[in-house]
């Protein structure tokens, strides 16, 4: 039961990463591409949370009525959780910046297709003419 959960977490996170990488290559719409890329970030976060998880453990918050040694052997590992908090916020801010740039570029090109909007610079010059 315990190992199963952790294995399932691993598979889920790898699946999210792979879905994201697939979207990055094969999806043409830029907003979908960005959505896909945010899944990579989520997969990495889930993986790191999975590291700290201890099957059958408790939430790592020490209340006064707990015995510290019992707590130490039963609580899950809190360091990865702290890292993931930072990483989630970074991911959201990156996403916001990307979407802002997309909105600006949409006004110029009038399409969301990557192969038009983000093509080679010399080809874009032809497009503008």
């Amino acid at each position: 039961m315990m190992a199963e959960t952790q294995l399932a977490i691993l598979f889920t996170s790898i699946a999210l990463v792979v879905i994201g990488l697939y979207a990055a290559i094969f999806v043409d719409n830029i907003i979908k591409k960005i959505i896909g890329i945010s899944f990579i970030e989520e997969g990495a976060n889930l993986f790191i949370v999975g590291i700290g998880y201890k099957a059958g453990g408790i939430v790592p918050i020490l209340t006064p009525d707990m015995d510290p040694t019992w707590f130490a052997s039963h609580a899950s590992y809190p360091l990865p959780y702290g890292l993931v908090l930072t990483s989630i916020v970074i991911g959201a801010s990156t996403l916001a910046v990307m979407l802002a740039l997309v909105m600006v570029l949409y006004r110029k090109y009038g399409t969301l297709s990557t192969s038009v909007m983000l093509a080679d610079t010399s080809k874009q010059e032809e497009y503008n003419e």
Binding site: K32, E42, L46, G52, V59, Y81, I88
Partner: protein, 77 residues
Amino acid sequence: MIEFILMIITILSAILALIQKDLLKAAILTGFSGGALAVLFQILLAPDVALTQAIVGAAIVPVFIALAVKKTQRGDA
């Protein structure tokens, strides 16, 4: 058991978000995925991460995407 269901929801809504023709639906499905992930974090004994993920993944990110879709175009073309 519930964690397996949540994982399946996460992956399925991620895949569904990418095959939608309507970008607004894709945004909502991203929120689904983020929300399921938040509950999953709670089950994985990380309540603080779950709170952050619930706000960011299930509310802020879909709203950002929906706003971007509103300012650009809704169809996938």
